[in-house]
Amino acid sequence: MRGRGQYVADVRLPGMQDVAFVRSPLAHARIRGISVPPELRDRVFIASDLDGVKPIRAVSGLAGFKPSEQPPLARDKVRQVGELVAMCVAPTRAEAEDIAALVELDLEELPAVYDMRRARDEKASLVHEEWGDNVFLETLVDVDIASAFDAPIKVSRTISTARQCMAPIEGRGVVVHLDRRLDQLTVTTSCQMPHIVRSGLSECLGIAEERIRVVSPDVGGGFGYKGILLAEEVCLGWLALRCGHPVRWIEDRREHLTANADCREHHYEITVYAERDGTIRGVDCEAIVDSGAYSAYPFSACLEAAQVASILPGPYDFPAYRCRTWSVATNKPPILPYRGVARTGVCFAMELALDAVAAEAGVTPEQVRLKNLVRPDQMPFDNITNKHFDSGDYPEALTRALRMIDVDGVRARQAAGEPDGRRIGFGLSIYCEQSAHGTSVYSGWGIPMVPGHEQAGARLTPDGGLELRIGAHSHGQSLETTLPQVANEILGIPTDRIRLVHGDTAMTPYSTGAWGSRMMVMTGGAVATACEELVERAMAIGAHLLQADVSDVRFEMGRVVGPNGDVALSEIARVWYRRPQDLPLGAHGGGLEVTAGYKPKRDSGTFSYAAHAVVVAVDSEIGSIEILDYVIVEDGGVLVNPMVVDGQILGGLAQGIGTALLEEMPYDQAGQPLASTLGDYLLPGAAEVPAPRIGHMETPSPYTRFGVKGIGEGGAIAPPAALANAVNDALRPLGVEMLVSPVTPDRIVAAVLAARSSTLQRRDAA
């Protein structure tokens, strides 16, 4: 951290002006009028000004999906607090806000759909009237569930996860100017998927893609939020064309929290059928995802819920399954894919339910898991929803985690009791993370983005350095370190002579971008493929320089080695660029610059996984939780850079702790967000995140280059379940079970008091 990063807000262009938006103060209302002071009419723009601008449409090909249309500036109706209504432009943001304060909205308030569990009620207000209901999509998977109904153990729970905000340190922001020389709209935006944003802008603005250049500079955290095309980006694209001078909008924290960056809100009614020893016979679930008002581009409003159905079984093998899901529309911001996407929610539901099964069966949580985890001898394994597990030893990960955390010691300490009266709890959770899933998976979703081959460019420079060009973006995951490692592995060029060029549609091959924990598998594979092609080109030149036949030379540690000598890659580069007279006749005209594409042998995704084990001390009287120990045993296939992987896990863990214990974006019955600053929306800080102990396993993927697997999101998936299970383990003797995230002191104390009063009532009755 040297303060030398260059983020969108650091971009200064001559003549640039700032934009502030007038946003809807109401969750659901008809717009009767917008009044702009006449003297400000050339500074304020509303929907009717945006000629030719199309609404954002993120459809899904799944049967029954109802698309929404999100006008960049609201037209007839507003459907969430914070929806854009007018755009105000001024030399500074403060002045733009002064103007915004003078714009008056005449709104006719409509009842807000604020609770996803009631969104399907007959009398519910309609977010999109033309639909007739509030359901984006309903799905049903049923695999022989009836066969489980006679199981001796049946455990049902209602489990839910709060709506959250993603809260990267840097919010969104966009600077747009028209480059008159290239006749190109240059959009500098904090995003992780620049090529996708370009396609979206092109569709909404009606401008050909080649007339748009999207630049993403340093990005201060993405986590999924920065994969989304924002209405603000569309508005500023139009505005830059209209005004002729550069325009800028920098999201502030309040906009981020109240209007834009929501995620995670799931509700589960889950029943697990099991044998008396904890062997799962079947899982039956109804899940609702609060998708908010609009389908976000490009992932759509159904990604979460439809994924819930396919990934709820997690790393477990059982014979019967039913899952019905609803993606419902509400008067809240669109729910966006956040690190872990649906997995954090399903892991929470499944792992809490499994602990309930363990309690009911009278066995330990680890016994229930060991009974049901996919076994290594089953690999590769197709699970009940046809997810294809490529490799791994899940029971081993759990066993190692138990050993590392000394589960026997923890149980002994728990039984002995703490001198300060706090209660010790032990919690586990295990997940698997399908990552780098490709065409075969995404073509089925039918959303605006389907990943195909991933490409990378590799170019030797005349002095023997290497430039790598990738269309995805590094937004904090250290691709600047790891991709040069991959290139070094093939070419032997020292990593300090390898530059990564990324974050600019004008300079990089097309890519769907950084999402789905796919970069190391896909972009890493593409870099390797491009470098291997470079090796072939270099060998042809090198053999000539060595006066040897190509079949007699080999490539080793950055040199072409022949029978009678060797020549360095840098010399080959010098010859190609500076001394072409020394090249063989018929040398490949493509020279030492290659763009190559890559797909794994099978594109159904890699399956990384981890077992998390945690020990907490819970103060039942004030509800506080201290994390005493945290162990993670993960398997991400072959690790390119274990330190970077640890960093990913640590960051994910911090976010997982936020989900588990702190982060919540509550809404009232009018659909008003109740946490509008970081004083109300609590993020974990240094003091709340323990130093975990991480154990690595490396089971190569049989399908990917080098056997790598995607690991970017996993750290954020398991912590909420592990922590809630630990709290429940601590409080079970009091008759308390926490089934809602975040597990807050208020919720704990309320549950403890309720359990006490029901115990008293039972005593009175007896």
């Binding site: 500074t92 943001r93 403060a94 806000e97 002064d98 304060a101 502030d252 309040r254 009287e621 004030i622 509800g623 506080s624 214990l661 702190l662 600053t677 004083g679 609590l682 974990p684 800080g685 240094a686 003091a687 709340e688 807050t744 002191p745 208020d746 104390v749 309320a750 008091l753």
Partner: protein
Amino acid sequence: MKAARFDLVRPRDLAEALDLLAAPAGVVKVMAGGQSLGPMLNLRLVEPDLIVDISAVPDLRRFEREGGTIVIGAGCTHADLEDGRAPDVGRDMLARVASGIAYRAVRNRGTVGGSLAHADPAADWPTALLALGAEIELASKVGRRRLPLGEFLTGALSTALAPGELIVAVRVAAASASAGFGYVKHARKVGEFAHALGAAVIDPEAGAGHAVVGALDRAPIVFEDAGVLFGGRVGPDARSFDRTVADAALKAAGVENEASRHVHVEILRRALVQAFERAPAPARAAA
């Protein structure tokens, strides 16, 4: 969001500051460390015409001892107290409170006087200084006056500050040698505003003490005689703490939620236990 336009003046002495406050043209806000006012300006919750920045007034930065009284200038920062640049009331009483306020960056700028003037019920100083029996010294062009802190704090975010008036100092009597100070803050994370605050000064030798419950939707509840929490008189330890008395006081103060009351009472109890434990050892040995 960005603050609306305002004028800023930075007086160099107290007289100049009081002059500026005496004849305001429009809405005036005083800024010391700006740790609460800054965000409020940016959120446009306040849109003053003029901000009087008192951070350069030397009179407000003094701390001194006047006999048995510690006088802390209103512009003294939390970090001044945390680091021991200012004299403490007794051992580390003020330093302990100061070190738990928000984050170091906030403590470097935020001031005691600013915190009291803002009177956020969830802030530390109102509760802690009430327990320590502080007095507030106020100045205006008209003159000076002193108020017990309990009279100064009139409610959530509301005080007895008159127009044109400025807090110049907090006066706290040094604690008796046999007293212990207990201070317990309940928050969900380090640096957060408190959800419950308990403060107590207990002198087991004298069988006396007082206790405060803070972080309510109103000014803190003060038990001038902590004996009421122990069935009549302050005993040798906290074992006779009567939860029902504290609970009833919270109920009377309008805290409807049972779980909230439970936590407030528990935090108060822990502050009392701590006060007993921190009372100097000879007193406890005698008891």
